[in-house]
């Protein structure tokens, strides 16, 4: 197994607020990596640094390096838009484009990238919806508004939209926090499947979710990476007392 992303001495700030401190972490290719930790520990900031979304916030900055396939995504001449195409993101709250149909939601990124051939677009939409395990439920209603789907379907639509532009890495920021247990179970199964052919990084508050879906788990506390390793080790026999106390609910 090789590493898709290598984070080196990463620090991040919002103004004077130092939110990530000297993070060093290697993320395996074609595996699911979960980032857990209490609110405000820097989980979301960390994944937003992985596709250059952190810098979109006024006053936000970083230092350090994030290597994607060995190349620093922050080096001169790297187009953040290209980075974000290679590293897609799914957010906490399903956010389909409300005025667009199911089909167009998935096709949006492709159109933005200049794809005009309707047949190719249709094929890619179908493929992406199938990958997101949504095709069977929406294939007869592709013209329906994306916003009319259930919460779980909307989130899978957003995953299909992220997959359509053929990313290599998928970042997920608490993708199930707004979903019921059935919808959550479907997304978790999808995450496991995606982890076989994509590098998936998921931020979650739900430790059992990390235990269920992730091959590797990182525990972040007050902006520092406290422990990172096999999910089974983290949840059975964590090496660090802080990790132990957090995952057993003794604080946080």
């Amino acid at each position: 197994m090789s590493y898709k992303i290598e984070i080196e001495d990463l620090n991040a700030w919002f103004g004077n607020n130092h939110v990530l401190k000297d993070i060093n972490m290697k993320i395996r290719e074609n595996a699911v990596t979960a980032i857990i930790g209490p609110s405000g520990c820097g989980k979301t900031t960390l994944i937003r640094c992985l596709n250059r979304m952190h810098e979109l916030v006024p006053g936000a900055r970083i230092s350090g390096r994030v290597l994607l396939d060995g190349r620093d995504i922050y080096s001169d001449g790297v187009d953040p838009v290209t980075v974000r195409r290679r590293i897609g993101m799914v957010f906490q709250k399903p956010n389909p484009f409300p005025m667009m149909s199911v089909h167009d939601n998935v096709a949006a990124g492709l159109k933005l990238n200049g794809m005009k051939d309707k047949q190719r677009l249709d094929k890619t939409v179908e493929k992406s919806l199938k990958l997101a395990i949504l095709w069977d439920e929406v294939q007869k209603e592709l013209d329906k508004s994306g916003a009319s789907l259930s919460g779980g379907q909307q989130q899978r639509l957003c995953i299909a939209r992220a997959l359509a532009v053929e990313p290599e890495v998928i970042l997920m920021d608490e993708p199930c926090s707004a979903l019921d247990p059935t919808a959550t179970a479907k997304i978790e199964k999808l995450i496991r499947t995606l982890g076989e052919s994509y590098t998936v990084v998921i931020v979650t508050h739900n430790m059992q979710q990390a235990a269920r879906v992730a091959d590797f788990t990182a525990f972040l506390y007050l902006g520092e990476l406290v422990e990172y390793g096999d999910t089974s080790t983290i949840f059975e026999n964590p090496r660090n007392k802080l990790t132990e106390n957090y995952i057993t609910g003794k604080f946080g």
Partner: protein, 221 residues
Amino acid sequence: MSRLIDTGLEQLSRLLFKMGDLAEKTVSLSLDSYMEGLEVQDKVRVWSETLVALSEQVEEKAIEIIARYQPVASDLRIIESYMKIAYDLSRYGRYAWDITFIYKRLNVNSADCMFPSLPIKELKEKVQDIVHTSIEAVRKSEIDLAKKIGEIENEVDAVYYECLDKLVEQDRITTKCLITNLLFIRHLERIADHASYIGESITYLVTGERISLRGRMSNES
């Protein structure tokens, strides 16, 4: 701040400690009575059955905690270890009970089958020691006591094989007496094995490492 899971874990500990006390009492009564040729079958059977019932309660409680709280890390290790230990303690009871009907089953007089040259008393005392140490290790979750179990286990094995060798060498021993002694030392050896399993569970509970405390003897195949 106490957590919701803590109440369940405390109930589990209480059940296990209760089992520990009863298991030690059961083994002691059985072994002492065997040496003295006393009849305690009924009492030991009731205690042994109580141990099995308590072990089932531990299992039920453990499953309930897993279902309700999804324990991880040390909480999870406590539950796994306690479930295993509850089983080992119930086995103490079962072997103790088996020992109580050896004489009756074989229809022998206890005094007729005692051979002073066999270090049976020494074996019996070591087994009582290892049982006591295992119960202490459970109560205190102490790694040093788990290590001590490993040491006593080696001594038990050595005396067990000495007993075996001497039994084979006994002249003019009846088949019934041979089986009587053989069953007794075999049950003792099995009790000590379960004490080792308890030591291993305590080690796992405390350190997260799965180790074996059972050393292999050179004359073991």
